[in-house]
Symmetry: C2
Subunit: 327 residues, 2 copies
């Protein structure tokens, strides 16, 4: 039985979800993977705040305590923003730890650097949770891309925007009222700029572009439009015509290897794979050369959807290690 220690950076919604799942599934993961996974440290701002079910000795506000852990096998990162997240993960890789992140802002910018560094240090980087929450688009694309070429990606990558557009249509309310409802329900932040401006979807699309095409477009060449200009009248007129507004992030590659990316509202009809995606769900439609079009749909955010795909990232890493196949 291998015993490993894991650290969690951040104890917001996602960090707490990771902690709970690792606790609930510890016995099962021991049986299926032959590895005993112990959460050894959690990085938080405020170590004196009491957190239910969490032994206070696990908490630290010093990242050095994380790096000093013996047998540190993986760092789960569930904080926000580029720094200090990138610096933390970079340092963890140097210590020989796998890293798993939900941080799309950091990863859209530093994902390649992290992965190159991880390769050099013989560890892995998990980033399923950066894009489309619980929808397993990263692992699906990794598998598909071993044989298929992905040619074109269209996604609903921001659940808040999709919730607002859905509410405007089904409840006949204005953008402002729908946004207020989303905030009341905790779907939108107090400052909803990143969600409704398209910037959140933009970061996720850049991650998908890097995975599908091996590169991102120049960020400044990408037209990014949010949903705040869409009026109730437009939504109702579209509905009367059998169409719906969807906030779609799309990227494709042309014959010359040039990447084209665009983010903004689109009118789609019932035959479009994203027409039926309502509420806070995310969805990604992939055009591939052999399979054709496949579409993945699921929750775009939330404590357990996001946390569980991060733990799956780790379980996949452990499972690859444990496979012993004589070639």
């Amino acid at each position: 039985m291998t015993a490993v220690k894991v650290a969690i950076l951040g104890f917001g919604t996602v960090g707490e979800g990771i902690f709970n799942i690792l606790k609930e599934k510890r016995k099962q993961l021991k049986e299926t993977l032959g590895v005993d996974i112990e959460v050894a440290k959690i990085l938080v701002h405020n170590v004196s705040k009491e957190r239910e079910g969490v032994d206070a000795s696990l908490l630290t506000n010093r990242f050095e305590d994380i790096l000093a852990l013996p047998q540190l096998d993986v760092v789960f990162e569930a904080i926000v923003g580029e720094e200090p997240a990138y610096g933390y993960l970079d340092a963890a890789i140097e210590k020989g730890a796998h890293v798993i992140t939900a941080n799309k802002v950091m990863f859209a910018k530093f994902g390649q650097a992290l992965q190159e560094k991880a390769k050099k240090y013989g560890v892995q980087v998990g980033f399923e949770a950066t894009t489309a929450g619980g929808v397993p688009v990263i692992k699906t694309m990794e598998t598909i891309l071993r044989v298929n070429d992905v040619l074109h990606i269209q996604g609903i990558l921001n659940g808040t925007s999709n919730y607002i557009l859905t509410q405007m249509r089904t409840e006949g309310i204005s953008f402002e009222t729908a946004l207020k409802n989303a905030q009341d329900l905790g779907y939108a932040e107090a400052d909803p700029y990143n969600d409704i401006s398209g910037q959140d979807a933009f970061k996720k699309l850049m991650i998908l572009s890097a995975l599908a095409f091996g590169k991102q477009p120049n960020w400044e060449d990408v037209k990014v439009v949010g949903i705040s200009e869409i009026t109730l009248e437009q939504v109702q007129q579209a509905d009367a015509n059998g169409q719906r507004y969807r906030h779609i992030a799309e990227v494709s590659i042309d014959e010359n290897g040039k990447i084209h990316a665009e983010i903004g509202p689109q009118l789609v009809d019932a035959a479009h794979p994203l027409y039926a995606i309502d509420g806070v769900d995310n969805a990604v439609a992939l055009d591939t050369n052999y399979i054709g079009k496949i579409t993945l749909v699921g929750p775009g955010a939330g404590m357990y959807p996001t946390a569980s795909v991060m733990v799956e990232d780790y379980a996949s890493m452990l499972s690859k290690q444990s496979v012993v196949v004589p070639v």
Copy 2:
């Protein structure tokens, strides 16, 4: 550079697709996996029939020629029916070869035996192509199940039935006319019994049950109903009510660990994840404990969708072997 030899059993639509993809992607797979994959033998009934692009020396009608291949690393099986398919794969595993199958009839019955045997012989079994064609439901479930419990599965698993139900609704034609159209377009066999009776969906559902719950229900306890009793009037009445008939295969597990499975037409409304799935597409909606509901949609059959997920199975096996991570 490792060099491996592969064999293909059957050279119908799927067998030919595998052959073409392995030829087209040989260089790329060499670069990405470090393995040179050579198709060394193809098992066919008629070795004297000319097949474009295929060197006649590759063809054999004797399975012993396959087993005698030096460096045989994998056998792709694209024939139909329980036997001789099972016997062939069983023998290939004994020779130390991985096996990859698209044969749901064989796999629903002998999948467990094959996997147990493969474990004993240190090889792997790929079966993504047995269920829902190009939709990556098997690998997605394998990943999800490392952490999530799958509680309930609903699928449109037979593209022919879905095409017929869609045509009845959108074209206002009878079951008989829609079936005739499906046959003219090559979607339905000359003998469409397996498709329209639900038997094809039944086999695929049994494979999903085994994967999700570790067991299948007793086959005789499963109610299997096809679509032939649905009238145009029923379809039109449903449409007027905002509902659609879908042929749904579903399976769940109760608190006592008992499996409940059922296959037949269901009326669903617009909020149902399978409502929007039209034409020959397949779709699978999975209810899980942490992620919630995720839905996968894509082509349920066809030369390249099916063949490419089989080659992906093999690429995944090779990629696991080539990962070297110091634990």
